[in-house]
Symmetry: C2
Subunit: 161 residues, 2 copies
DNA sequence: GGCCTTCTGATAATGAATTCCATTATCATC
DNA sequence: GATGATAATGGAATTCATTATCAGAAGGCC
């Protein structure tokens, strides 16, 4: 058990960092550290939007990192719950980091592709209630609302009249 | 304009049938009728679960229908809003008929793959409210809750102790 | 029936995701 | 610091779902 980065300051439980959680998973699974993986993770965290493997590969290719490794790293992060894969219907899987901030859901404009994030505790509470009614426990969820954003609605109105 | 199946009985607006809606779309788009397509649609409606192209093809192949046609037909139904594509994260797109009953969402067991449908008007109402706050209009949505079903929870408990 | 267009089935093509394999890097142990 | 076992890597090859192509069949109007 590595004792590194076990800082405990002030009141409340110690906040586990992204790196610490990843380390824990690596240890648990008998995996190793690697500089390449660190670079991919770093680039992943730096890209704050929902990033595809292709996009992320483009950002690390100049350092000689291949896309197979990017696939593997994102899958690794998904496995330990540090990244969430999302499919918005265009055939490519996008990933976003979790554990940095609260869970959120998405509004997707079917006209221009804009993605807006939101969170709503009341919806989350109702989800848990529904699951319990069916005997389920909830590990994760996806909520996506597809429609037209304000700008596209304005454009549509202007074009019509 | 084909006047077929325009039955109007009792009070309230006339309920457009699945076939009538499809006909309207075909006419609007300058497409034709075909016996093969009718067979695929029939098989699609007969399979009430969320069906993949592969599964649906298996059910119509003995009548000489190829999977390219199944893909095309399901895409056609999606285009006119009579089928809804769903991706549950296993890489295959599943379709389900709409316009037959109210919209519903899904509980997916991450252990055994069971899919349970539910609907919750309060969640739907909150979704509309959230969208309005962001200036969006909602055309459709997807809500999926991933977790463990009652049976798998029971098995897990038994295996543990 | 003739004509034009759409539809169909077989198959090739596409593209995202995974796997293979030879090489390299990591890390506990000496 | 050298060694050995094994995970990690990059590029190519492969898999698999989906889409495009094309020649021939079928729908629908005259």
């Amino acid at each position: 058990m590595t004792p590194r980065s076990r800082k405990q300051r002030g009141a409340g439980p110690p906040p586990p960092t992204f790196g610490a959680l990843l380390d824990a998973h690596l240890e648990r699974s008998g995996l190793r550290h690697s500089g390449v993986r660190d670079l991919v993770v770093e680039a992943f965290l730096a890209a704050r939007e929902h990033v595809s493997v292709e996009e992320l590969t483009r950002r690390v290719r100049r350092r000689g990192i291949g896309q197979a490794t990017v696939y593997r790293t994102l899958k690794l992060l998904s496995d330990c719950g540090l990244a969430a894969p999302r499919q918005f219907g265009d055939g490519v899987t996008r990933y976003e980091p979790v554990a940095e901030r609260a869970h959120h859901d998405h509004l997707i404009c079917t006209s221009c592709g804009t993605i807006v994030e939101f969170e709503n505790p009341r919806i989350e509470a109702l989800q848990l209630a529904v699951a319990r009614e069916h005997g389920f426990t909830v590990e994760s969820h996806k909520l996506e609302l597809y429609g037209r954003c304000a700008a596209c609605l304005r454009d549509a109105r202007r074009a019509r009249g």
